[in-house]
Symmetry: C2
Subunit: 210 residues, 2 copies
Amino acid sequence: MELYGYYRSTSSYRVRIALALKGLDYQALPVNLLKGEQRGSDYLALNPQGRVPALRTDQGDLLLQSPAIIEYLEELQPQPALLPADPVGRARARAVAAIIGCDIHPLHNVSVLNRLRAAGQDEAQVNAWIGHWIGQGLAAVEQLIGDQGFCLGAEPGLADLYLIPQVYAAERFNIDLGGYPRIRRVVALAAEHPAFIVAHPSRQVDTPVQ
Amino acid sequence: MELYGYYRSTSSYRVRIALALKGLDYQALPVNLLKGEQRGSDYLALNPQGRVPALRTDQGDLLLQSPAIIEYLEELQPQPALLPADPVGRARARAVAAIIGCDIHPLHNVSVLNRLRAAGQDEAQVNAWIGHWIGQGLAAVEQLIGDQGFCLGAEPGLADLYLIPQVYAAERFNIDLGGYPRIRRVVALAAEHPAFIVAHPSRQVDTPVQ
C-alpha cells in the first residue's frame, strides 16, 4: 500500500497509527502541504478534493478520507481489532472518533485558519477560535472515555488513534490539557507504545531535519 | 428506540433517513436548539456534548454522534444495506459521508456561525464563509459520485443519506446547485423516495406549523 500524507497532518497521523497497530507495511508518499502540493495538478488528478491522506491499495484503488480509510483497514485486516465486537461498544468508539474528526479537527485545519485570517481575524482571534473548539471537544471526550488504560480499554483502538493526533495538534496550539486527566493518562500510555511512536510526526520521511 | 433530534438539524435528518430506509420504528424526542434545550441540565446529563442527535437503543444505551449511530443501525439491522459488500465500495461510500460530515457540515453549523458573528463577522462575511465550504465540498462530492441512480448505485445508501440533508442546508443558505448535475439528479430521485420523504424536516413532530 501507499499512503499520501504529510508528517504533521493529524488525519494522516491517524491513518499511520492504524497501519502500525495492524502491522501493515506501506510506502509513504509525502505531499507537502506548506508548498501547496495538494493543489498541484498531479495530486488533484488523483484526489479531486486535494487533501491528505489518501491510501493506494495493493489493487490500485485510491481511497480518500481518513475515517473511510481506517474502516477499510479494519475490514481488510480485522486483527488486532480497532473496534470491539459488540455494536454498542463500536458505537461508543466511533462517537469519540466523530467528536474529534467532525467537531474539533475540521475547525482548526490550516485551510480554515487561513480563511479566518483572510476574513480579517487577527492571530489573537484565531487562537481564541482554536482554543474554543479544541477545549469544548476535548471536554466531551474526557467525559466519554474510561478511567484506566487507553480510551476505551486495555488495548489501543479507534478512539485512541483519533485522540493522540488531536492532542498533538492541541499542544502545537499551546492548549492547556490540565483539565483532562483521563486524556493525559492515555497520552502517557501512547508515548510508550510502539505503534504510536513509529507514527509520530517527529519521525516521518518528510519530517524536516531540525 | 428513541431519537433525540431537531427537525432542521442535518445530522438528525441523516439518522432519520437511515432509520426509514431500514424500516426501524422509533419515538422522536425533540430537542429545541433555538430555545437552547441542548444546553439544559436535563439534556446535558444525558449527553455531555450537548448536541443532537442521540439515539436511545431498545436496551437503554444512549449513542451519540450521527456517524456512529448510522454505523450502529447498519450493524443492528444489516438489510437493506446502507453500504455495499466489498471493502473498496464501502470506503468510497464512507469517503463521501466523511467529506460532508467532516469537511462541510461542521463549518456551517449554528454554533460555528454564531462564533463567527461573535468574532465580528457581518452577515455578508458569514454567508461568504458558508458558500465557500459548501461549494468546495459539493464540488468534490460531484466528482466522486456516479453518473446514474443514487450517489453510488441504484438504491440509496450511506452517501445519499449524508448528501440529501447537506443539500437541504445548502438550499436554506441559497447556494446555487447549478454546477452539480449529478447531485441534482440524486436530489430529484430522493424527492420521490418514501424514506427520504418521511425523514424530511418539513414533516417532523417538532416542525413549526406554517
